[in-house]
Symmetry: C2
Subunit: 201 residues, 2 copies
């Protein structure tokens, strides 16, 4: 498999971590979307939506959207990262869609503006701050009651949500206001074999 | 099952159409998010994310996120709306996630501003126009080559994407620029037994 991704993007790292965990061999092709690398003819032939991550599977077929790629890799591997119980699986889906709609567009976007584009807080739409805190509050409410997002088992939902939550401080969000989320970040980093991105709680 | 939804919202109608198609009995509970009905204590007990649609399943358990609810209903029913081939299924997932990230936030949002909030075109962020047209162009590219989004079979991806595409004209988008999308809208409306939302092509 070839993974086209930007190493600064949580959406891309999700796919890498999932492949690592499942033991799927891959070649990582660093693709700088900020520098226009997703708008070349070659890249658009792989993903006409001009977004990373995108993969070329071992048989040459292409696939895009981080959460779709993770679902596919885990289905092919028959991995317990997808719960076999249909309701637990549905809760995992709920978190995956919520991540792309209500978490990433606030937390990842605010982090990109501050951390990569070096914007000051007064140059950033204040709605991103409120929306990001609402998202972290939603996660806190779940993680007070269960070790992982879809319940007691570690699933793709945790990989998807940890990607930008573990670097939320680079977006100006303080996880000490969300202690269950903070503890969960370390728990998921441990599952993924990652060094902690934040200072210890 | 109880479906909490707003009849003006494509995200909510998706769930209704899917339940109708699968023969899942339900009670529709009209929930006006614009009037604050998703912020009441009763509603937040069902979906702490304060979004419609949300469902209470027959066994009393709750679920949110339109595309997650559709996936769950179709999995329980073992419906061919989810392809059995793993790659076709992955392409369906790709469209479902793309819909929530790249289509709905442009096409549904511009439609809500124009159609429900009666904003003039000059009051609306022009980026929504460009992003919406890019999304329709992405669909056109697929639908020139296949009858449905994930390939030759009608899947949940078509239900998800048709919800706001069939009312894109209410957001100011002219589907005559995207003839394959226009023809597909009528094809999907036929599958769902819906009256055409737009004039005939």
């Amino acid at each position: 498999m070839r993974i086209y991704g930007n190493a600064g993007s949580g959406n891309c790292l999700k796919v890498k971590w999932c492949a690592d965990l499942l033991g799927v061999p891959y070649e990582w092709i660093e693709t700088d979307n900020f520098a226009g690398a997703t708008r070349t003819d070659d890249f658009l032939a792989i993903n006409p939506a001009a977004q990373v991550p995108a993969v070329v599977l071992a048989d040459g077929r292409t696939l895009a959207q981080s959460n779709a790629i993770m679902l596919h890799l885990a289905e092919v591997a028959k991995s317990p990262l997808i719960p076999s119980d249909l309701y637990q699986r549905a809760r995992m889906y709920e978190w995956l869609f919520w991540e792309q709609y209500s978490h990433e567009p606030a937390i990842a976007v605010r982090r990109a503006l501050r951390h990569f584009l070096r914007k000051g807080d007064d140059e950033i739409d204040p709605e991103l701050w409120h929306k990001g805190r609402r998202a972290l509050g939603r996660m806190e409410l779940q993680l007070i009651g269960s070790d992982f997002l879809a319940g007691d088992a570690f699933t793709l939902a945790d990989i998807a949500l940890v990607a930008y939550t573990r670097v939320a401080h680079e977006g100006g969000f303080d996880l000490s206001d969300f202690p269950a989320v903070h503890a969960w970040v370390h728990r998921v980093e441990h599952e993924l074999g990652l060094e902690p991105a934040m200072e210890a709680a």
